[in-house]
């Protein structure tokens, strides 16, 4: 890895000389090493894939990232190393694509249709037999009813749908946003405001995190 300064990277990648090609290929190789490492070492969901597939995946992600990087060079403010800034773009590209593939068959229909959106206690890992405090099971069921009331009474329809997907199905906000025709920031705000409403609703019922963790712990 050459010791380019931030200014070197910027001027080379914005030049029309041979230094542009050198810098671009150096950055490509640098990012491909990092993205390959991430996919190979930190993604258990990809552990079955051979190295050559992972390498191809890393090359594809980095190619997409390079287009975004070159398009947004003017937004680099020099507050970090250039390679860290470029790597964060590669990280987002890689994760976004992996999420898109993972949730490609996910639909919000089961949350927007009439019917029960709250899972039962067993689906949330609580059963009389499996509970460390089986004598509290009736109380645990009561809390679930309160949570259900909170979902039904404290939230808007859109918040209920988004929060159900986020909390109970574990779907990333980015993927929920795609299905609700909005962007990630707006969806995050919708979910965040909904979480606060649920928190205040539960607190108004006299419930605290400490109490609930001890009850379900």
């Amino acid at each position: 890895m050459s010791e380019r300064t931030n200014q070197d990277w910027l001027s080379d990648l914005q030049s029309e000389s041979a230094s542009y090609v050198d810098a671009l290929e150096a950055l490509r190789a640098h990012l491909e090493r990092g993205v390959f490492y991430y996919l190979r070492h930190d993604r258990s969901d990809l552990s079955q894939l051979p190295d050559e597939d992972i390498r191809q995946m890393a090359q594809d992600f980095v190619q997409d990232a390079l287009i975004k990087i070159l398009d947004s060079l003017e937004t680099f403010r020099g507050e970090s190393k250039f390679t860290t800034w470029a790597s964060k773009i590669a990280a987002r590209v890689a994760i976004s694509e992996l999420r898109r593939v993972r949730y490609k068959d996910y639909s919000l229909e089961h949350l927007t249709a009439e019917g029960e959106i709250m899972p039962d206690l067993a689906s949330l890992g609580v059963t009389p037999e499996g509970s460390p405090h089986p004598e509290n099971y009736a109380e645990q069921q009561e809390i679930l009813h309160m949570l259900k009331d909170a979902f039904e009474n404290a939230l808007t329809d859109r918040q209920r749908t988004a929060l159900s997907a986020y909390i109970f199905d574990g779907v990333p906000v980015e993927e929920i946003a795609r299905r609700m025709d909005t962007n990630r920031n707006a969806l995050y705000k919708l979910v965040h405001d909904g979480r606060l409403k649920l928190k205040h609703y539960m607190e108004d019922q006299g419930l605290s995190l400490e109490y609930l963790l001890s009850l379900f712990g």
Partner: protein, 78 residues
């Protein structure tokens, strides 16, 4: 998701949160400070708070750490 994770998701929500884009804008500075042995939470407390609140950004943060680790590892080994 377990019920304990559900209640943590609800009760750990803070009022002064930034957006995902604002977090993304500063995450490279945040990570560089960690690598420099500094505590970024003092300078960028809202980024730290957002990472605790947002699973998406937290996952991207961890991926960035890993990618940088891979870049450094291979650079060191030639």
């Amino acid at each position: 998701m377990k019920i304990t994770d559900v209640v943590k998701t609800i009760f750990n929500t803070k009022t002064d949160d930034i957006t995902c884009d604002e977090c993304f804008e500063h995450i490279d500075e945040y990570v560089d400070m960690i690598h420099a042995g500094q505590d970024p939470s003092e300078v960028l407390p809202q980024v730290k708070s957002h990472l605790e609140q947002c699973r998406c950004c937290e996952m991207e943060f961890r991926a960035l750490i890993s990618i940088l680790e891979g870049e450094i590892d291979h650079a060191d080994s030639g």
